[in-house]
Amino acid sequence: MSDSTATAVRKQSRALTSDVRAVRRRRVGTAVTYGFLCALAIVYIFPFLIAIATSFKTEPNATAYPLGLVPDPVTSSAYHELFKDQDFFLWVKNSAIVTLSVTFLRVFLDSLAGYALARLRFRGRAAAFTTIVAVMAVPGVVLLIPKFLIIRQIGIYDTYYGMTIPLLVDAAGVFIMKNFFESIPVSVEESARIDGASLFRIYWSIVLPMARPALITIFILSFQGSWNELGHFIISTQSTSLNTLTKGVAQLASGQLGVGNRFPLKLAASVLMTIPVAVLFFIFQRQIMNTSAGAVKE
């Protein structure tokens, strides 16, 4: 083997070694990333698993092994108690009434306001929008007391009205809708105007169907938000007949002394409470898509 051939072979093998090293480095990198993500996933999922497992435990078992993932023995007594001894179905009914009315009305009102801010030219439009954005910056807790005072003042304290009306419009929703409407080509609306559609008809028959992705976003956010809302119901109601799921479960959680920690009962209620929101997410995550495809040539 001549010198030059030897050098070439050596060079080649060195290149190969460095290739192998690079591949190995990449694999290690991937493994580390996945390891980290798995750890994160466990941190997120673990509480849910504990909640589900505990809801099927007996009270002594839950107290002795609060973090155990296998109930021993398995029992559904917590669920029985929840349905029999507590007003669970009343809470579900109240939550459903408030959540559904808030969700549908909020989608409608947010989109109306968003459309007006996006398309109509009126005096004070910029100021109105700035105010809405400013409201987004105020933490909800700060507004609880003023809300309580107003609700009392106008006489809707401890009623369904008091529970729903203050939740009907939210700044974030208006903001999302306005931005979405602005992304819809004006020519589509102009075309409808020439075709003879009125302003409301354009909004209803042309713009809203095109805004489906944004509407679904608002729908999910509103549903989740009002289903999980607690603070507002605490300040707007007093009677137990108006208890929602969140308020009912919260009262369980802060139950009287002498009845034990009642972990299985509380967590059974929490597990059931999570189901509607989870189902909603699964249904709609596939529905979110761009519906304006094909409207105009981009």
Binding site: P185, S191, I194, P209, T291, G294, A295, K297
Partner: protein
Amino acid sequence: MAAITFDNVTKTYGDGFRAVSDLNLDVKDGEFVVFVGPSGCGKTTALRMIAGLEEVSDGEIRIGERVVNNLPPRDRDVAMVFQNYALYPHMTVAENIGFALRMRKVPKAEARTRIEETARIIGLVDHLDRKPRQLSGGQRQRVAMGRAIVREPQVFLMDEPLSNLDAKLRVQMRAEISRIQHQLNVTTVYVTHDQVEAMTMGDRVAVLRRGLLQQFDVPQNLYERPDNLFVASFIGSPSMNVVEGTLARDGDGIVCRIGPSLLPLPPKILSARPALEGYVERAVAVGIRPEALDEPGRRDGDGGSLRGVVRAIEALGPEQLAHVEVEAKPVLVEDVLEGLVDMEEAEDLVEIMAEAEAEGERALLVARLDASARVRQDETLDLSVDLGRLHFFDLDSGESIRA
């Protein structure tokens, strides 16, 4: 069907920008009129004012006998085709076409018949149940046309409807739109920046620039008798060659001196443009269409020629374009530069202008020669000039020198 009249129409925006100034124009009943001009010339604004999508700042627009200034779009009985089609993406083709009928509460059975009839005209009978996103660009364009046709309106308005299609489809749709318009005989205003589209489609063409109407005439007249330098440069592809010339008296006649060459003006030109007499001993802009230049010896008798060097040859199949550098001062006023649709051409000219300043006066002329013409790159030749087809413009005003 109805005529459209612009009576001193002006559009001024809030910031003081005048998009359209004192527009006076009549579109006859059933006529196909094209508004053409470079971007920002006000053509789309003028169209949108007919539709009612822009308010008229001053003047009057009439459709038929009705003044429509303050009528909302839906009461004007016009249908518009948008540049980006503006289809309703969540509706099928049939629903898109039928939307206007639904808004006008046309009975369902009648609407169905009209939609099917329209689909037949635009050739989309088999696609009525599809959504726009399932259609090709050309098909979407047809749906947009269909939406206008089904209305049976008094006026069609079209805002650059072909500019999003590829070149081949554009030629095809051009013919299709002309066919449909002639078939339905609906008054049509069509906006485009493409002068070829304007020339091939329009019964009459309105050339606009900076909000001002430059000329409104049948395509052939725009080409053969442009009113000013802008129209002369804008209409025609390749553009008209424009060089500076000086008129001088020669016995009974007048000659035009371009660089070292002397072109005797035939009596025909002098009788058609008597005002030329007033320009003797003065510089004028001389316009020469590429087809008025020919290879040496092809045209004999009238004895005018320009000597130059062939710098480039573009073979186009049936003909060839020769770029010939001649000793002459190119006219590079704004009127000419703005009229060049082809930006490359404008850049070329500016480059030449810089060179001309450095090395004396030279202009690059484009000659449209027969495919059989034998010219070679870097060859010096005497281009023969069809003197009867020379155009003359005032250098200051840019106006054509005629009567």
